[in-house]
Symmetry: C2
Subunit: 107 residues, 2 copies
């Protein structure tokens, strides 16, 4: 029920960061592929918090194994973020950042 109100976390930042939220992994896989192919980017960062962390890992693995096989895992960071819920209560949530890179292609 509350899922609709949390769509903010799925917004796209203006750099190469893709925020992974509650959609199925393939939605984010498509976003990563678009970033690499369409925008000609060499690096994509997947960010996720809480339960979405496993979706972020799924996304990175699907991209690497099925779509962009020359993509490398550059870095994986985990951390803790403080979030305030609707009632104003603060709580901690784990986060992950997965950096994927491809070596520049000659065209």
């Amino acid at each position: 029920m509350a899922e609709k109100t949390e769509k903010k976390t799925e917004e796209k930042a203006d750099d190469n960061t893709i925020f992974v939220g509650k959609k199925p992994p393939m939605s984010y896989v498509l976003a990563v592929i678009t970033q690499f192919n369409g925008n000609g980017s060499n690096g994509v960062i997947l960010k996720a918090r809480g339960r979405a962390i496993s979706t972020a890992v799924d996304t990175a693995e699907i991209v690497r194994n099925r779509f962009i096989t020359d993509a490398k895992l550059k870095d994986i960071k985990i951390g803790t973020e403080s979030v305030t819920n609707e009632e104003g209560r603060e709580s901690n949530v784990s986060s992950i950042e997965i950096s994927l890179t491809v070596s520049k292609k000659q065209k």
Copy 2:
């Protein structure tokens, strides 16, 4: 309903590996602390698959922030494992390995 049948993934290996499953993060936090303090180990590896990946990250973050503040993240690996379900169908599941270390204490 099927949760009870999957407890195998929570078994403890004989080395410093802790398999993170569907219990709350604090169960695994306790296991990590026991490994570090009771068994005098300098390193613990948290392994998890699928949805439990976020619990593994939670566990590592709770240990680092609240209990063993000198614990360092040595390495984080992600990968894909092939699992066969009860009907004999094969599917891929993402996995994570988080290595935590503490520097040896002088006693």
